[in-house]
Amino acid sequence: MNEIEDSLLGRCRENDRKAQYELYRLCYSFMMSICIRYVRNREDAEALLNQAFLKVLTRLGKYRREVPFPLWVRRITINTVIDEYRRNKKEKEHMDYVDFTESPDEYNAVSLNTCVAKMDVERLHALIEKLPATSRRVFNLYIVDGYAHKEIADMLGMSEGTSKWHLNFARNKLKEWIAIDLPALKHVAS
């Protein structure tokens, strides 16, 4: 992904289908790892990926070499995901907003992190998928994609406070679920 050559991009701009396939192959894993975090199944993620890839192709002419290509692709992919979310925004999810402060640290944070490190990525992904959609989106945008609460609030049309609430909610829920897995994980670790 990092070593995409200028010549490949140039051929993609010239609508060379082979070059486009090559680029698709190179970007697929990276883009899919973003898309899959925001939707519930691989088919939807692939549809999003294809839309994002189409945008990458159509905007290649505007791409400047100063920006790392993966970063540029990531931005486009996340924007595609957010656009999709905005389109379907009418389907509001119903959540009970509970007023909670920082959840009690019932479990040892250090051992929790150790377990996460040893945790299977698919299992972790499965746990994240269990989160409510908005909380999952905020969690992904903040923790994985590195957006600030202000940006997330703008993107998702919510207040910064709500964004923070969702992040805390997601974190605590994850910790809670990982804690349930903790004995098994400890066993694996030992």
Partner: protein, 532 residues
């Protein structure tokens, strides 16, 4: 806190470490999207090319129409109204009259004939031709008679500077004529519009004859020239002069006085119609006219030059012979109402969804600029009927006690739009016009059929159907259609408009309906257009 950051970091690195490989069909799906995008692009290019071609064709049609109709049309365009052309003629007559200080009434008559063609430039040419052709100050009654009896239409359509010069006995025109003509032709078209109200009613044929009865404007204008000539100084036939003066009537008194006083043409603001513009123009051309007063253009290079230039300008200055010259152009701005039907062939060619006849009704404002172009903005209602297909049926299931299945099916029937057409309209002539523009649409509401029933086993219970509004999920709120069309005038206030519209975007969201078909709003509208 550190543990939390570590927790976040661990999650990030875990999630980013996931690796995926494309599925078998992944690239095929992507390719389909790419192809669809390219198809859209080529369609857009095609549409753009079509719009451009339409614009170019329209412009060419306008240009050709202008060219075919000869100089008169241009003159009319320049003056902004058909009336002015005749008014200009009056002025021309006045100018030659001035030139006829030498006493050539015939030349004046000739000028009248030309002037009656409604083209001041033609008069200019005549003057020019006269000056060059015959420096003799004597009038040629026959020539004048010939020209005078010429129908204005003939002069307007066929005479040019050269022919006028030959027909006239131009010696009489003398050196002054060119100067006057030139100046007159330069001014008439602008000045007369406001002043000469009668000009439009002047029959061209009768103008040519310079009969008193033929037309107030042109005939009078012709006399004016004679009056001027007679009153000027030099001689001509006093009787004729008086006669003409009598014909010329009150409006020309001033001319006579001016002529008598100075020997050059100086109008006053009291002059009506042609006279006024002649005045201003003469003031510009006085030096030339005065220099040429000797009646020998050969002695006055300026006059000759002026004559030449007049001839040149005359060749480009047009005569008013088109139908539009008889039909006054519409006022600058007016309100209109329109109504009709729009035939929608369907969203796509492979199913009948959307195929319907729909009403179009609305009104707006039309603003003209130039003599042929208008911009029309309006507000109108339209709809797309028969909008339902299987992809647009929302179904909700509710199970109760594990045996009854309550279902609600919502099928779209009609999409209601408010549209804001903005059209650019170019008139080819008084009857025909082309339109092109854009028509933004806003989805006001949708009309759907809601069916609710309960299914118990194979039995349907409580089956109810009603019409509901507002189920617009998945339908785009905004759309814009490119429009191109043709309008034909059916009378003073009615137009028949045939308009083709093609949507720039999809009516619905693909993702919602899981279709990649491009469902465009397109229709062929037949409208009646009433101007207030």
């Amino acid at each position: 806190m550190k543990e939390q950051e570590q927790f976040d970091e661990l999650i990030r690195s875990k999630l980013e470490s996931r690796r995926f490989t494309p599925g078998e069909n992944s690239w095929e799906d992507a390719q389909r999207l790419i192809d669809a995008q390219q198809g859209r692009r080529s369609r857009r290019r095609l549409l753009f090319a079509a719009a451009l071609a339409l614009l170019i064709t329209g412009s060419a049609a306008v240009w050709l129409a202008s060219g075919k109709n000869g100089p008169g049309e241009t003159a009319q365009q320049h003056s902004g109204a058909g009336q002015n052309a005749n008014a200009g003629a009056g002025n021309e007559n006045a100018s030659p009259g001035d030139a006829n200080v030498s006493g050539n009434e015939n030349n004046s008559a000739n000028e009248n004939a030309n002037a009656s063609s409604g083209n001041e430039s033609a008069a200019g040419k005549t003057g020019a031709g006269s000056a060059n052709a015959n420096p003799n100050a004597g009038g040629d009654v026959k020539t004048a008679g010939v020209n005078g009896s010429n129908k204005a239409g003939t002069n307007a359509g066929t005479n040019n500077a050269g022919s006028n010069a030959q027909q006239n006995d131009p010696g009489a025109a003398a050196g002054k004529q060119p100067g006057n003509n030139r100046s007159t032709s330069g001014k008439n078209t602008q000045a007369n519009a406001a002043q000469n109200k009668n000009a439009g009613t002047a029959p061209r044929g009768s103008n040519g004859k310079n009969k008193q009865s033929s037309s107030g404007t042109s005939g009078t204008a012709g006399q004016r020239g004679n009056d001027w000539a007679t009153g000027g100084s030099s001689g001509g036939d006093p009787k004729r002069a008086e006669d003409r003066a009598g014909i010329a009537a009150g409006t020309h008194d001033v001319w006579e006085e001016n002529a008598g006083a100075s020997g050059t043409m100086k109008n006053t603001p009291n002059d009506k119609g042609a006279g006024s513009s002649g005045a201003s123009s003469d003031s510009v051309s006085q030096p030339v006219a005065a220099a040429a007063a000797s009646g020998d253009p050969s002695q006055d290079p300026k006059a000759a030059l002026a004559a030449t230039s007049d001839s040149t300008s005359a060749s480009t200055a047009p005569l008013s012979t088109t139908p539009s010259a008889q039909n006054p152009l519409p006022s600058k701005g007016y309100w209109f109402a329109r109504g009709g039907v729009a035939y929608m062939p369907g969203f796509t060619s492979d199913n009948g969804s959307g195929r319907s006849l729909n009403p179009v009704i609305g009104g707006g404002y039309s603003y003209g600029f130039g003599s042929r172009c208008r911009v029309e903005a309006s507000l109108q209602y339209t709809s797309i009927g028969n909008a339902s297909d299987s992809s647009r049926i929302y179904t909700a299931y509710t199970y109760s006690f594990g045996s009854d299945l309550a279902r609600t099916e919502i099928g779209l029937k009609r999409l209601h739009y408010v549209a804001l057409p903005l059209h650019f309209r170019v008139s080819v002539n008084a009857k025909n016009a082309f339109l092109a523009g854009i028509t933004p649409h806003y989805l006001v509401s949708t009309e759907s059929k809601e069916r609710t029933y309960t299914q118990r086993g194979t039995t349907i219970l409580d089956d109810k159907t009603k019409t509901v509004f507002g189920y617009a999920q998945g339908i785009r709120s905004f759309d814009a259609l490119l429009s191109a069309g043709y309008a034909r005038s059916l009378g003073e206030r009615w137009d028949l408009v045939l308009l083709f519209n093609y949507g720039l975007g999809d009516v619905k969201f693909d993702d919602r309906f899981a279709l990649l078909k491009k469902e465009r709003h397109k229709n062929l509208q037949l409208q009646l257009h009433y101007s207030f």
